[in-house]
Amino acid sequence: MINALIEVFPVLMKGINITITVFILSAIFSYLFAFIAGLCRVSNNKYVRGSTSVYVEIFRGTSLIVQLFWLYYAIPMLFDVGIDNRLMAGVLAISLNYGAYMSEIVRGSILAVDKGQTEASIALNLSRAQRMRIVIFPQALRMMLPEFGNYLIQILKATSLVSLIGMTDILYHGNILRSTNLSAAPTVYLLLLVFYFIMALPLIFLTRKGEQISKRGVAS
């Protein structure tokens, strides 16, 4: 067992860079898409609202693996040019998908801010942009924190899918090891699960922290 571990560990470590890169980029872009789409969905312009809803519903209505394959295999066919960059396809699929899910949280939190806050800021003669920026958004942001933490873990889990389009992440290296030596499979996959769990641990604590922050000083 120990021998197998020593043999497997360095092979998997070769992929850790890719996994972490994909995770960080996907997280950044997911939040970006979430905020843009979430704010668009509370816009006054019905065309902006409508087109964003279409984006959100399409990406929430289909599964991530299908979106990933679609972006990587189908788009290049549609336009003859396209994404032959695997990193870009992977990150784009994950962040468009989770951006759509999280935009619902952004929208929900903005709508959940008490009506009185809007009324008070109108009374204080703040412009619409100021109202959102200074009054509504900061209060909505703390409501988003717990869910955002949860989605961070989901994004981490989703990074394992990029091995399916041939990115050399830790799962890819694990699969290669398994195909050459089937008896190593238990060690390989258990170690992979432990890897992911160790990466998820800080996120789990971050989520709990987020929950505390969002509860602090709020009468429920």
Binding site: G61, T62, N150, S160, L171, R178, L192, L193, Y196
Partner: protein, 237 residues
């Protein structure tokens, strides 16, 4: 830019890919059923008061929940038969039920827990006062009140699981995604075949999501337990 879309290919691929829908939907319900039953196991394991057991159960749940279902599938399909002593070789369909079922049972368990916590404390006290046995307490008093308000959330998980089921194509379950892959590689038409898969998912999951949403509003009005339900919303996929 040239748009390279072939309708004849689309219509040729459609019936072929649709053949896999039975497997995809069947697997979804099988996983869901497994998760519904196994979810109760987590609820009762978490109620054990003995500290080390409680701690262990909590972290095992956390482990299953925060690691990728894809690797869990690979583990059950490829690694489990190789484990000396307890290893059993499962078909890809069975592995998928077990893998996705266990993964989602941890979420479903949390849903149940939120439902149970939503039951008024007085109900426990009353059933103790009426001299009900533990078993009667659960089956006659607590669960009939705890489970119905969670139905919309369980429905949400059904839709979420439906969208995770294509992962099973990686271990050889021949659902719509696997058929699309076959068709696409055989005819060099990835575009049409993957678009069909996306359309099938959209057509099935979007109306169901609206339906569940309506049900949720109706239930909320009926049970008026928003606070209890909101608490478990932390579990998302």
């Amino acid at each position: 830019m040239d748009i390279n879309w072939k309708w004849d290919m689309f219509f040729e691929a459609f019936p072929y890919i649709l053949q896999g829908l039975g497997v995809t939907v069947g697997l979804t319900f099988a996983c869901f059923l497994f998760a519904l039953i196994f979810g109760f196991v987590w609820v009762f394991l978490r109620r054990i008061k003995f500290k080390p057991v409680n701690w262990l159960v909590t972290w095992v749940m956390e482990f299953i929940r925060s690691t990728p279902p894809l690797i869990q599938l690979f583990f059950i399909y490829y690694a489990w038969p190789m484990v000396p002593g307890i290893g059993v070789s499962l078909s890809s369909f069975e592995s998928a039920i077990l893998g996705l079922g266990i993964h989602f049972s941890t979420y479903i368990g949390e849903v149940y827990r939120s439902g149970i916590e939503g039951v008024d404390k007085g109900q426990w006290e009353a059933s103790t006062a009426l001299n009900f046995s533990t078993r009667q307490k659960w089956t006659k008093i607590i669960l009939p009140q705890a489970i119905p308000p969670t139905i919309p959330m369980l429905g949400n998980y059904l839709i979420i699981m439906f969208k995770e089921v294509p992962l099973a194509s990686t271990i050889g379950v021949v659902g719509i995604l696997a058929l699309a892959e076959t068709y696409g590689t055989d005819n060099f038409r990835m575009l049409e075949s993957y678009t069909i898969v996306a359309l099938i998912f959209l057509v099935l999951s979007y109306p169901s999501a609206i339906l569940i949403n309506k049900l949720e509003k109706k239930m909320n009005r009926r049970f008026n337990k928003k606070a209890a339900l909101q608490e478990s919303k932390g579990a998302v996929v």
